[in-house]
Symmetry: C2
Subunit: 338 residues, 2 copies
DNA sequence: AAAAAAAATGAAAACGATTACAAATTCTAT
DNA sequence: ATAGAATTTGTAATCGTTTTCATTTTTTTT
């Protein structure tokens, strides 16, 4: 079924059919009705490639994610929702492990002529910057989770500093003074703000952090275990609380503590960050900092649609405020419940 | 940059440029070299819509998932991997809650002229069957997780009966005789085979299942808790083991047991199904049945690519064998370790 | 060196829509 | 009834490729 056949069946020109399809109001009422009836009957749907060719539109956005796991699922669905409501398809690519591949996949998206790219980035290296700079010359992009200030690309972030600050405030309010930190990977500039908040909070209380109480992790569960291991083995006094830079590492830390016969939270409190879906179901249920994934996804999609519509965007940086979620893995110091 | 401009720069016709791009070997060596140099220099990439229009190919597959959460993440990435290696883009849609929307989104994919659809289905209703029947007249499809025997659509499944059988065998071998079952939703025909395996195994041992020891769930964590609650409240003797039809419900069940002061696995053993990523990190680490998501994704993608290539497919039903994973949540009856 | 065969190239017609612009039709006001 | 305006419709060019077929160029054979 092509527009030509519809035109023939309706006894009009293709131009008229096209007008009907596109809701042009200069078509007489009964002509329109007739054409619509035939479109209905034949189950015709315009060829989007032909249309795209002349309109120079693919009606597809590209979505680049580090991976498509549970952590991003609500974000992906929010994006999907906004896009399809605006008649955009969503084509995906994933970053996988190595960023060589990530950049290759990003280029692939660009070559597919997507009209815009929503890019959730785990980290931004100089090589990333270079390739992104090239791409945004041709294709609008919005970054999520990271920002590149020297490039003019809008970004959706959460306030990592504020979030970690809230976490630390809670730990301190619960009376903890010996607090260890399992840190994010150093090259994640955004997450590294959690580190800053940790140190600032400790300093503000006049508390010293022994070297062994600061361990790097890579956001994975095993790295949380290892970090905890080293904290305990380092020869420093055992902390009363541990702040992990994300929930996975908090889970790893708890795993390690329990294996060594320590109780959480009675012996050691553990604070997470992210509020992954499992956090509330873990035992003990994780006290953590919540990120609004739906908001991030929705805003990212709306931002790029807004850009397509008006060729510019109101805000180039949207920073969302994370929220402290108090559950069971952090306990007031010295309390003996549980 | 269009093919015309390249042609002009190279001093040849667009036909020749097109031949170079498509690796046609009837182009003289130096002509080819020259054209390629210019393509390189100008960073030209052919317009895929124009190409698609004449070749009648979009080079895009549609991927329909119930949702994009952790459970499907490896499958999605495997699909993505195979597709991009074969120069296909992947456009996504999700089923969300209501299947009205699911079907609408499926139709949307079809209208976007994807060349094939990989459809991971949570359940198949008559309405699904109807719409799928329509779609496969025009677009090849492969189903994952479910099959529709009366329609000629290839499917990738795991052997749910065998998987549940393995789980039951393990429970029985551990000496359990009072085994309760938290069942899948009734309309999931595939998962319901786990129910069959449960009853068959019990019957084979001459064991009776009191009514209260069989509770329906909906695969969610809370429904697992509720099911467990009803099993304990039903007035029947407390089971020594519980088999949950998926890991989420197993986690819910454990949650419930612990809240009521029962220890897992010392007082009650819990068997899951799926082996979600968190299963190994949960406390106690979940004994469960593993599904190979990577294999499912890879095979699904390869199947549809094979179909595109040869217009037919070797196998129309691929059934993968799940594997029992023994961890800590199931214990030999009467053992007192832990 | 000419004829025949093979190889390389180009001209032009698709593919299926949209959209200026022109042409035809209908309506309004005299 | 008719000029002029307003409304509808159609013609044909266009988007950027690929591909058939004809033509030109090169190579081989005699």
């Amino acid at each position: 079924m092509t527009i030509k056949e519809i035109a023939k069946l309706a006894g009009v020109s293709t131009a008229t059919v096209s007008r009907v399809i596109n809701g042009d109001l200069s078509v007489k009422k009964d002509t329109r009705a007739n054409v619509e009836k035939i479109i209905q009957k034949t189950n015709y749907w315009p060829n989007l490639m032909a249309r795209g060719l002349v309109k120079k539109k693919t009606n597809i956005f590209g979505l680049m994610m580090p991976r498509f796991d549970g952590w991003y699922s609500q974000r992906v669905e929010a994006i999907l929702d906004v896009c399809s409501r605006n008649k955009y398809g969503v084509m995906i690519a994933s970053g996988l492990a190595k960023y060589e591949e990530e950049m290759e996949n990003l280029n692939l998206l660009a070559k597919q002529r997507v009209e815009g790219i929503i890019y959730s980035a785990a980290r931004i290296t100089p090589r990333h910057r270079e390739i992104i700079a090239q791409i945004i010359e041709r294709i609008p992009m919005v970054l999520v989770d990271q920002a590149i200030d020297e490039l003019n690309v809008p970004a959706i972030l959460q306030d990592n500093y504020r979030g970690a600050q809230k976490a630390m405030r809670h730990l301190l309010e619960c009376g903890h003074r010996r607090i260890a930190f399992i840190a994010p990977p150093q090259d994640d500039i955004e997450a590294e703000k959690r580190t800053a908040a940790f140190y600032d909070a400790m300093r503000a209380e006049g508390l010293d952090v022994p070297e062994g109480h600061f361990q790097r992790g890579d956001f994975s569960i095993p790295s949380g275990s290892q970090g905890m291991e080293r904290i305990l083995e380092g020869g420093d006094p055992t902390p009363t609380a541990v702040f992990a830079a994300n929930d996975n590492m908090a889970i790893g830390a708890i795993d390690c503590l329990i294996r060594r016969g320590l109780r959480v939270p009675q012996d050691v409190s553990v604070m997470g960050f992210d509020d992954i879906a499992m956090a509330r179901h873990f035992l003990p249920a994780l006290t953590t900092v919540h990120q609004d994934q739906v908001a991030m996804g929705t805003q990212a999609a709306e931002l790029i649609i807004e850009y397509k519509k008006y060729k510019k965007v109101r805000l180039k940086k949207i920073i969302l405020e994370p929220e402290l979620i108090v559950r069971d893995s952090v306990q007031r110091l010295g309390e003996a419940r549980g």
